[in-house]
Symmetry: C2
Subunit: 425 residues, 2 copies
């Protein structure tokens, strides 16, 4: 390993000097197998190359932003063309209005848009909008659900203080009784119910939304005057060409989007219905780069591809092909291998694997066969993937399951994930 | 006006339907004179064109990001080249390490960097880092100073709640006794002192930092173990090729940067010294686009221009030329016209002008002469400006002062700024 990883190793040493902990956030490989590369050189379509020149079929898709392929020509051409005209200027361009019109035309519940940069910007704006609208404070959201990295919602509390998380009540996702109890506890102070479109927490099985849970959340908001917020930052436009809960017939008052909205160019947005328009106009939100025109040009092109191509049907079919193929191969190898969540955003966990040593071994073997999978976070498919890519991944999986079968009795504990067995999550 | 503004007017009508209040944040023209355009078409060098084709010498520079000129060829070429290789991917590129090395090499106090997107991301990280480092809660900052638009610091509180602003004590900028009193009030709970590099609040005169204030802030942090944070998001690299308080011989523990770091491409950063490294490594901060490689390529090129060109000496000289010329022309016209703050980041206010009606008239007359100035926010010079541009602006000012002199007795009140006279700020 030492020789083929030499550039990555050198960069990690340099990074350790000028970046705290060597890397931060969701793109740190600190909790991944040791052979996972930290630094990449380039991306093209469905593939990435690490700094030591190894090529991978990338099932992370940049943790979501890559929907149509890295370097998608039409989207990037739209970006570069607008960059030549004007990007971050002293005011927005007409593209901002066109983009708000495009989104409100595509997303059923949406009457207006406020653009920003981070998904966390959008979820924080939703919190603020709901509190401004209701003049109440309390928010109900699901335990373990990720809504961003701001102090009010960040999963690791170091440096945050209790008051950052004041006036929040946690419930269990998909558990109607738990949701009702949380709302009852909020009394006459309920400002909002936040919901992920499906349960996509890290380290545990994903779960489709129970339609009864979604409908009850809507009813409880209607009854109390609170706002229903669907946080579609991660899943938006990968499940449906609308807000994800529209598949359940449930429309939120606010929805939050980001990730793939401009296929990797930095853009997120809060969408809302007319009921929340006045409150949204009352809050002060802004950022130096929120009015960037080039990103909006890229987003308009991304939305055109969403509307006019069969990307959704293709990635859905690819996700089914992957799931069926892995199911077959894992069974043949005799493993209890759980694939949860939508096929286009799968998460893999092995039975009887509390510290993920099986998952780590399987993932490393996939990596060594040129397929980048994640051992504990949901993955993403993109429209640049082909049936041949999926079939190649299935061949890799057959090899990986085979190695795992031979080694499974001798796997070393995964010390860095010992906190999982300790029941910390 | 109606005919020449027709595209802007149409876009405003469309925007009013799909964006709450028609526009939001600092780029809304809601508190500017009615003839200011909301929407722009393009930017080139020091100039912007509105959607009705009018060209302006732009003294806002996108509210700071434009340091080397809109569409600066070397910076944008670096961006586009990296975009073709890989931008937002499943991990960072070597550029992230190179950029952290470049910044820590240029900024005296900095030993490490954490990159993000919004200036507010950086200031919020500084807050969290200081609290993690000290395991204390209280932050002292100056009344009226802008440190971003997150709930803990946003100037307009709609939708925020008291707990968002808990454990903060406000003092008066440049007032040592007030700073000392705030620190005394914090008792043994002081986590950080935040400071703008100079007083650059909106609506009022700017003020250079009193070196005694800066030194006392440093001493109080040293004595209590709190961290000193200089928020250089707005002023960074416009006053010195280092953290702005290095001019006073005062080094912070943390500094926050954004705006012009990549000349308009979206990037901000928290820099810190070794004392805060462990705390910085302990907090969880991230964003979908924080690892974007193209923006880091643009930033590396921007930093190269900062190091290798005389941009700073040129914009400083242009700022002096503007100030001296305006001083002469305003005196000749008989106006008390206050130019405050650094010459490269000036703010203009008229004496005896509580609702800014003189400022509005002057600004409108400048605008009609092709010079975009702001009546109540600090402005920015950029390195794409020339002496001829400044001289043209001075000619415009001579005309604008002349018109103002003829109309000053008949100016209508500025209703939208009535809150200023009411003493709301």
């Amino acid at each position: 390993m030492a020789q083929t990883n030499s550039r990555d190793r050198d960069l990690r040493e340099r990074a350790a000097r000028v970046i705290p902990g060597g890397m931060y956030g969701h793109q740190s490989v600190g909790l991944l197998p040791d052979d996972y590369p930290q630094f990449f050189e380039r991306g093209d379509g469905a593939h990435i190359w690490d700094v030591d020149g190894r090529r991978y079929l990338d099932f992370m898709c940049a943790y979501g932003p890559n929907l149509f392929g890295y370097g998608q020509p039409e989207i990037d051409a739209a970006y570069v063309r607008q960059l030549g005209l004007g990007d971050t200027m002293t005011g927005p361009t007409a593209l901002m209005v066109e983009l708000a019109e495009a989104l409100t035309g595509m997303v059923t519940h949406a009457d207006w848009a406020i653009f920003c940069k981070n998904g966390t910007d959008a979820t924080t704006m939703a919190l603020t909008t709901a509190r401004a609208h209701t003049r109440r404070k309390t928010v109900v959201r699901a335990k373990g659900a990720y809504h961003g990295a701001a102090p009010w919602c960040v999963p690791r509390p170091s440096g945050t203080i209790d008051s950052d998380r004041a006036h929040q009540i946690l419930c269990d996702y998909n558990d109607v009784a738990s949701l009702e109890a949380a709302v009852a506890q909020a009394g006459d102070d309920l400002a909002a119910i936040f919901a992920a479109p499906f349960k996509h927490d890290a380290f545990i099985d994903q779960a489709d939304p129970d339609p009864a849970y979604a409908r009850r959340a809507r009813e409880l908001c209607d009854r109390t005057g609170a706002l229903l917020v669907v946080d579609d930052v991660r899943a938006g436009f990968r499940l449906v060409r609308d807000c994800s809960w529209s598949r359940l017939g449930v429309q939120p008052d606010l929805s939050t989007w980001g990730k793939c909205l401009a296929n990797g160019h930095p853009l997120s947005v809060m969408l809302g219905s007319d009921v929340a328009r006045k409150a949204a106009a009352s809050i002060y939100v802004t950022g130096s780069f929120w009015y960037q025109a080039a990103t909006m040009a890229a987003a308009l092109e991304t939305l055109r591809l969403i509307r006019e191509t069969d990307y959704l049907e293709r990635i859905t079919a690819l996700g089914e092909r992957l799931r069926a193929g892995l199911d077959e191969r894992s069974k043949a190898a005799g493993f209890g291998f759980r694939q949860t969540g939508p096929g286009v955003m799968p998460l893999f966990l092995f039975d009887d694997d509390p510290d993920l040593r099986k998952g780590f071994c399987f993932s490393s073997e996939m990596l060594s066969r040129g397929v980048y999978v994640h051992p504990w976070h949901n993955m993403f498919l993109c429209a640049a993937m082909t049936e041949a890519d999926i079939d190649g991944a299935l061949d890799a999986a057959e090899g990986a399951f085979g190695v795992l079968k031979r080694q499974v009795r001798d796997l070393a504990p995964v010390e860095k994930l010992a906190f999982l067995s300790a029941g910390a999550r």
